[in-house]
Amino acid sequence: MDDDRLDLSPLRPDPERVDRAAGAVMARARGTLDGRRRMRGSVWREIPGWERPLLATAAIAAIVSIVVLLRVHPVVQRGHVATLSEQAGVPAPIASWVDSDQPPDPAALLEW
């Protein structure tokens, strides 16, 4: 506690004065606050408007991705059905170990 403190409370604005001043500020701020509410509302209204372009963009991206994947990793090569390991691009020796479901021979590991 500060014993030297001066009582300056008479300088504090009384409640009526605070009411008047706050009312005046709020009356002048009304337009700004209304604008903020409108802007916020319009953002949510904007989102549905972006639904169609977003869907179209997503569809194009999906088509391009499929084409690229097919060119880089052809799934079917002349009657050969690619395994999952091959499709994932795993090197052939490792893919054969994975597909055989058997642990690799240590000699084969060293050789590879």
Binding site: L8, E16, A21, A22, V25, R28, R37, R40
Partner: protein
């Protein structure tokens, strides 16, 4: 400011004001209006001018609320806006060369009673005493003794060291006590000025 009870904290109110919540803005304004007024008073030294500056600064704060980077420190941000507005008003007053509205005189408030008259006299004496201090002394003593800030907060807000804040407070309190003592002695010698 710390929110008491169910009162939402400043950062909550600031977020609501950003989305245009009128009730939140009103609460924020009422909560910080006394502080804004105190700072305006410290810089300007006049009640009516302080009212105008305080209102303009609060309006500015609401308009520029997106610029408040630390909503939990809203009051410090507001204090800076008030200080800038008050300094601009002071510069305009000097250029204009006229008296402040307080020097012209303030009409008595409705419902004027002897108690409010006595309080008014005390307020006038305090304002006269404050007028003898430098703006920084006024601000330090008002923030400390009226708003209850500690020296760390005052030093950060005013851009001075805590030691300087203590020194300003010491000088300001001494000067105010002397001025108020002289005022009281003069009143005693001259008798009541009203009635």
């Amino acid at each position: 400011m710390k929110a008491g009870g169910d009162d939402p904290a400043d950062e909550v109110l600031v977020a609501r004001v950003r989305s245009g919540d009128v009730a939140a803005a009103d609460q924020l304004v009422r909560r910080h209006l006394p502080l804004a007024y105190t700072i305006a008073l410290a810089v300007l030294g006049g009640r009516t001018d302080a009212d105008d500056v305080c209102q303009d600064a609060l309006l500015r704060a609401l308009e520029k609320i997106d610029d408040c980077r630390s909503p939990s420190r809203f009051r410090f941000w507001l204090a800076q806006i008030v200080r800038n507005h008050a300094r601009n008003a002071l510069a305009k007053r000097r250029v204009r060369g006229g008296p402040s509205l307080d020097e012209i005189g303030e009409p008595p408030a409705p419902g004027h009673t002897s108690e409010s008259a006595e309080r008014g006299e005390l307020r006038a004496a305090l304002l006269a005493a404050l007028d003898r201090l430098t703006p920084i002394q006024r601000e330090v003593v008002l923030l400390k003794d009226l708003e209850g800030w500690d020296h760390r907060m005052i030093a950060a807000a005013l851009g001075v060291s805590e030691g300087m804040s203590r020194q300003h407070l010491f000088v300001a309190r001494g000067a105010l006590r002397t001025a108020l003592g002289a005022e009281a002695r003069r009143d005693h010698l001259e008798g009541p000025r009203h009635g």
